[in-house]
Symmetry: C2
Subunit: 322 residues, 2 copies
């Protein structure tokens, strides 16, 4: 029983940011809704101050394999010239438990699956006509969210805000070049929201950056930065103002996401799986305000890993060990 | 930043079952006692009936790297000609979170670190003159415990019991050849204990196999089979009869090990780290009965993985990826 070792280069080759990868993540959310997923609580290591590791994963009944992802966030890395976040995926055979493959992805698959969840939320919740994207934050996910959302709502403009003005300028220059659309810097979150159709928040903030009065009618917000108790990007009145609230996984969002501040609306929160599966048809008037909270789920890891495994086996990619 | 991929063959070459590996595991228990270890609860996946995966790991402050181990137990595998258990270790840099190495060990390192914990318990708790080993069970750990205990108490005889008489005969034949000492089959656990100086129990039993009246004066028992709620190999009166009770990790043993049945003796349980560090000097008269409960700890995974990493880097073993 050989184990296939896939490098970042292999993974970039076999799982690009494209509609197939988007479908894989949509399927993941559908599996969640169908109750086919065994997803234990996140395993968390406090390595040291500003250094943490999370382990996520999900078994999906009926699928031939499943993934466990080890993701690190070491927030002083940039000062050493290294990315803050990295990851690797161990893919196990569902029938034998043997290690089918290991993705030494350096964060690539993780970033992609996270960006694609943002795209899924926008595809199913934002106005069809939305084409101007607001971005709060200037880091890795500020890039990935824009790349992936561009798959589902071809963008005509991006307006970005970040506290670090150098990082903001770099973001605007790089993303203008990469996506071929104007990417403008804004001087506040309010200005981002007022000049766009939809906004994605991508920061690790513990203080709200967006308040209800900033949200124009018809706007969609995907809040994907909050993934731990105590983090929040939206003021509580944003959730109160929203006509529609969605999320990736209700339990995880109540513990780790923006829904930590939800009061008594739990029954009205729509899981993305209800939309991807077609179980719920969302009535979304053009003037409605919608918010989707993403905490990040292990089922996304298994969904993207299964696509990588299929493609890599078919193409004979990687190095076989043992 | 390259990641070193180590195969089972690499790992067998650089971390054999020897006194250095034993010392590594002893150090692990010492780290636990010193309070240097961050060890979150086990992450458990119920994949399906008789199919489970456990994730364990430990950060050790002051050490340059740490390991997270993914271990599978798929108990119908033998019918397919496969081992029930497998594993892989992801080794992360403590300063950057980058993936330093991945051990695709097929269970080798896991089995070794588990066997060595048995050896540590015997080294520090059994009579110095003990040389006759009883073994309950005939599986993988029945082999590894004998191999590793032979490092610390050179064996003159092994007496084994297992319900499957074919498996028992195979065990006796194979281990006689491997260790060069007589390995005899016994017809009951009672006969194992009555003809040996120390016994290791290695089964996944949920019913007690050993009762207090079977334990001769001076005997030592290492119970390493129980590692989940509901499992037990010893009747509760064994713990009551014991003069000395030890364990690898008190919290884990109270939840998952024989100590689930402990009543009110918690304060008297000696952690192995107290013995390996020398913090406690055990007064062990030759007639005393001692029992050590091993549930298996993430710190053993990091301890053995650090040894593998050091040796592999020094020898340039493995394949570099990325």
């Amino acid at each position: 029983m050989k184990t296939r070792i896939l490098s970042e280069e292999d993974l970039r080759a076999c799982v690009p940011n494209d509609p197939d990868a988007l479908s894989a993540i949509e399927n993941g959310f559908t599996w969640l809704l169908e109750g086919r997923v065994e997803m234990p609580p996140i395993m968390h290591f406090d390595v040291a101050a500003r250094k943490e590791v999370d382990v996520k994963g999900a078994v999906v009944r009926g699928e031939p394999a499943f993934a466990i992802k080890i993701a690190s966030g070491f927030y002083d890395n940039p000062a050493r010239g290294l990315a803050s976040c990295s990851s690797s995926f161990v893919i196990l055979d569902s029938e034998t438990g043997m290690t089918r493959a290991i993705c030494v992805d350096n964060g690539y698959l993780m970033d992609l699956r996270t960006g694609l969840a943002g795209a899924v939320s926008v595809k199913h919740m934002a106005r069809k006509s939305a084409s101007r994207l607001g971005v709060i934050g200037t880091g890795t996910q500020a890039r990935w969210q824009a790349r992936c959302i561009n798959l589902v709502r071809p963008l005509t403009k991006i307006v970005a805000f970040g506290r670090n003005t150098d990082a903001l300028a770099t973001y605007c220059a790089e993303m203008t070049q990469e996506l071929g659309v104007p990417v403008e810097a804004a001087s506040s979150p309010a200005k981002v929201l007022s000049s766009t159709d939809m906004t994605v928040t991508t920061t690790p903030s513990k203080q709200p950056l967006v308040t209800a009065n900033m949200i124009p009618p018809g706007h969609h917000i995907t809040a994907m930065g909050s993934d731990m108790p105590g983090k929040r990007e939206l003021a509580p009145n944003c959730l109160e103002r929203a006509d529609i609230i969605g999320c990736d996984d209700i339990d995880q969002c109540l513990n780790n996401g923006e829904l930590q501040q939800l009061s008594g609306q739990r029954d009205t929160v729509v899981p993305l799986g209800a939309l991807t599966s077609g179980a719920v048809h969302l009535d979304r008037p053009d003037h409605a305000i919608s918010i989707c909270d993403l905490a990040g789920t292990g089922v996304q890891d298994t969904a993207i890993a299964l696509l990588a495994l299929d493609r890599a086996e078919e193409a004979g990619l990687g190095t076989l060990v043992n």
